[in-house]
Symmetry: C3
Subunit: 309 residues, 3 copies
C-alpha cells in the first residue's frame, strides 16, 4: 500500500503482506507510547461515528477507547430502536448523514456486504466491524498482532481454528491476513460447520497447508496456537448432534494438562462455555491480552485511514 489514507477497511483480503507489516509496526508504536502516557493528541479534533446495528460491547468500546486515546471524539448511534432506522431509513442514508458529522465511520450490521454498501455511499473512510457472517477485518488484524506478540513471529506457525468455521466472520477474516505467512492450518469443526470450501481452496492456493478435522485433541496437540470460537446452538437442527459436538470443543485445564506441551489460546470473546474459567490462569491463555491489543491495532487503523500515520 502507498497509504491507507482515505481508504475503507472492509475485508481481510485487502491487505498485502507489506500492509500488514506496516499496521503491526504502527500498532506497536502506539503500544509503546501508551506505556509512557495515557493518551496522545494525534487525532485531536477528529470525530469517530460508531454505527452498531447488532449487539457489541468489546468492538465498539475498543474503537471508542482507541479514538479517545488518540485525542479524538466519538458520536454513537446507540440502539437501533432509538434511531432513525426505526423510521425506515436505509443504511446508505444513515451513513451519508453521519458522514456529514464525523471524520470516520465504524459499522456493524447483520447483512453480508453492508459495510461495503455504507462505504460506497460516503466519501469518508468506513471500517467494517462485522457484516453478518461476512468479515471482521479489524478483529483479524488484532488477532494477528496478538499471535505475533505471543509467539514472537508469524513464520512456520501451526494454528488450529476451532468451532463454527462456517458462520464465523472472525475466522473468515483471520485466515485471509494469516495467508501471507505460510501458516499450517487445522480447521477443526463438526461437519455441519466446516469452513466454506471456497476459503479452504484459496488458502491452499496461497501456499498454506490445510488439514480439516473434527478432532480437537489431535489438532491442539500438533499446534502452537488454538483459536477457539463459540458454537452456536441455533445452527443445529438435531440438538443431540449439537450436544455431542459442543462437548468435544471445550477446553479446560485438564485438557491442557493432557496435551503435554504449552500452547497459546485465543478467543474473540464473548465465550459461553467453550473455555472453562480454570484456563484463565494458564500462561498461554491470551484472550484478555488479545482484547488489549485491539486498542493498539484500532488506534493504528484510525490514524492511518485519517492520514496521520
Amino acid at each position: 500500500m502507498v497509504s491507507l489514507k482515505g481508504k475503507d477497511i472492509l475485508h481481510g483480503n485487502q491487505f498485502s503482506k507489506r500492509d500488514i507489516d506496516i499496521i503491526i509496526k504502527v500498532s506497536n508504536g502506539f503500544e509503546k507510547e501508551l506505556k509512557k502516557k495515557d493518551s496522545l493528541t494525534l487525532l485531536k479534533g477528529k470525530i469517530l461515528a460508531t454505527l452498531f446495528f447488532e449487539p457489541s460491547t468489546r468492538t465498539r468500546l475498543s474503537f471508542e477507547t482507541a479514538m479517545q486515546r488518540l485525542g479524538g471524539g466519538v458520536i454513537c448511534m446507540g440502539a437501533v430502536e432509538s434511531s432513525s432506522v426505526a423510521k425506515g431509513e436505509t443504511l446508505s442514508d444513515t451513513a451519508r448523514t453521519v458522514a456529514q458529522y464525523a471524520d470516520v465511520i465504524v459499522v456493524r450490521h447483520p447483512r453480508v456486504g453492508s459495510a461495503k454498501e455504507a462505504a460506497d455511499a460516503v466519501d469518508i473512510p468506513v471500517i467494517n466491524a462485522g457484516d453478518g457472517a461476512g468479515q471482521h477485518p479489524t478483529q483479524a488484524l488484532l488477532d494477528l498482532y496478538t499471535i505475533r506478540k505471543e509467539l514472537g513471529s508469524l513464520k512456520n506457525l501451526k494454528i488450529a481454528l476451532v468451532g463454527d468455521l462456517k458462520n464465523g466472520r472472525t475466522v473468515h477474516a483471520l485466515v485471509e491476513v494469516l495467508s501471507h505467512f505460510g501458516v499450517h492450518f487445522y480447521f477443526v469443526a463438526p461437519s455441519l460447520l466446516r469452513m466454506p470450501e471456497e476459503i479452504t481452496e484459496r488458502m491452499k492456493g496461497k501456499g498454506c497447508e490445510v488439514i480439516e478435522t473434527d478432532d480437537l485433541v489431535m489438532a491442539a496437540s500438533k499446534s502452537d496456537l488454538v483459536y477457539m470460537t463459540r458454537i452456536q446452538k441455533e445452527r443445529f437442527s438435531d440438538l443431540s448432534e449439537y450436544e455431542k459436538v459442543k462437548g468435544s470443543y471445550i477446553i479446560d485445564r485438564e485438557f491442557l494438562d493432557r496435551l503435554k506441551k504449552k500452547i497459546t489460546i485465543l478467543h474473540p470473546l464473548p465465550r459461553v462455555d467453550e473455555i472453562n474459567p480454570d484456563v484463565d490462569s494458564y500462561p498461554g491463555a491470551a484472550y484478555f491480552r488479545q482484547m488489549r491489543n485491539g486498542v493498539f491495532v484500532r488506534m493504528a487503523l484510525l490514524a492511518m485511514v485519517l492520514g496521520k500515520k
Copy 2:
C-alpha cells in the same frame, strides 16, 4: 435580541429578523473556521446533556458533533427504558437533575410544550429538539441557513412545503423563521394534512403570500425550492386515500426532468420513499448538505446561549 446568552430556544417565532441575521453570521463564521481546522476550543470545559425521549439519529448526533467540534463534552441520557424515567420520574425532575451536571440541555419529547416545561424547571438554557407535533426551531434555522446558502439570498423566494403539514413540526418551525423574509409559500398537502389554519393566517398577516394546493407539479414548477417531508401512513383512516396521496408526493429524476427548470430540494430526513435515490445526484438535491449545515448552526446556537458569541 441583545444576546441569546442564557436564553432557551423553544419556538421558531421567538427570533426577530435581526436575531436570524446574527445566527446566520455566527454559523457562517464557524463553517469557515472548520475549513481551517477540525475543531475549536470555544466551549472547552462546557457540558451538553442530550435528553431524547423519542427516536433520533441526526438531531442528537448533530448536536453532539457541534458540541465536540467546539471543544465541549457530552452526556447522553440514552434510551428511556434504561433511565430513571422508567421509575416514573417527571420531565421537570429529570431536567432539574441534569441541570446540576450540565451547562446546557437539548430535549426531544413526544408532548407538545414539553421543552417549555423543562425550560421552566431549570436555570440553564434548554434547546427544543422537537416537542411532538409542536416545534423544532433548530431544524428551522438550519433549513433557513441552507436555503440562503443554496439560493444566495432569502429575498423574493418561492418555496413549496410538501407532505404532512398538519403534524410536521419542522415545517411549523420553518415557516416562522421564513416569515421575516416575505416568502411566497405553496403549502402542498392532501386535504387531511393541511397546514393548521392558525399558522396559515399568521403567515398571511406577516405579509407572506400563501397558496394552498394539493398539486405538487404545479407548485414545484413555480417554486425555487421544494421542501419535502414524509407522509405518515398512520394518520389515515382510509388507506386507499393514503395510497393515492402518497403516490402524488414522490419526487424522482423523471419528475424533475419534466419540470424544465432547476429547483433546489430539501428534506429534514429520514426519507422513506418520497424522494427517489435517483435524485441524489441532481445538482439541486441539497438534503445531505443540509445535514452538514446543521452542525454549523447548532454550534452557533450552543455558543450563543452559553454566552460565548
Copy 3:
C-alpha cells in the same frame, strides 16, 4: 487510609472517619475549583467505563460529568440488550474485557455482591454504583457531604431515614458512613420494610442512638434532617397495607408548616409522590443541591482511586 489509589469502592463500611474527612476535603476542593473554571485537567487521558445493568440516569450521568470535568474520557456499555451480555457473557468476563480498555470501572448490577465480583476479576479500580439491595457507597458519601454542607457539621445530628429501609441500598450505605459521627437515628418504616436488624445492631454497637418507629410526624419533629426514599409498591402482598403506609410517608408543604421548625430534606431521587412538588421551594429542600454535590464527590473518588489526589 494511606491512600485510595488503586482501591475499589464497594461498601459504605470500608471508610474510616479519617478516610471520610479526606474525601470531604478533596470534594470541597473540587467544588471550589469548579467555581473558577468549568473543568480541570487532572484526569486528562484517563478513561472511565460505565457498566450499568440496571436503569439509571443520575448516577451514570453524574459519574460521566465528574470524569469529563476532570478532563477524562468515558466509554459506556449502553443498554444490556445491545451488549455482549445478550450473548451470555458473565459479569467477570465483561469486567475483565473492559479493564483492557479503561482505567477505572463504575458498575451497577441487580445482584448483591456483583460489584465485588467484578472487582475481584480485574486489576483496575471498580466503583460500586449499586448492587441490588446491597450497597451504594458513592451515594452515601455524597449524601454525607450534603448533610455536612447544609447543616454545617456532622456532630450531634438527629436524622430520620424514611421509607423502604429493608431494600434501600442508599440508606444501607448511608448509615455506615454516618456511624462514625455519633448520629442519633430515627428509622421510620412500616413494619414490613424495617431496617435489617443486623444493620440496626451494628449502628448501636458503634455508639449511635437508634429509634425505630413508623411515625413520621414524631420523627420529623425531633430531627434536623429527613432523608426520604421511595416506597416500592411491588414489595407488598397486601395492597391495602401499601395504600395506608404510602399515605403516611408523603411530605408536602402543609406537613412542613405543621412541624413549627425548619428541617432539611434529602432524597436520592427519583421521587414518585413521596415529596410533593410544593416542597421544592422550601429552603430546606436540598435534594437538587444534593445531585450537584454528587459531581464533586465523584470527582474526588475518581481522582483518588486513580492516584491523583
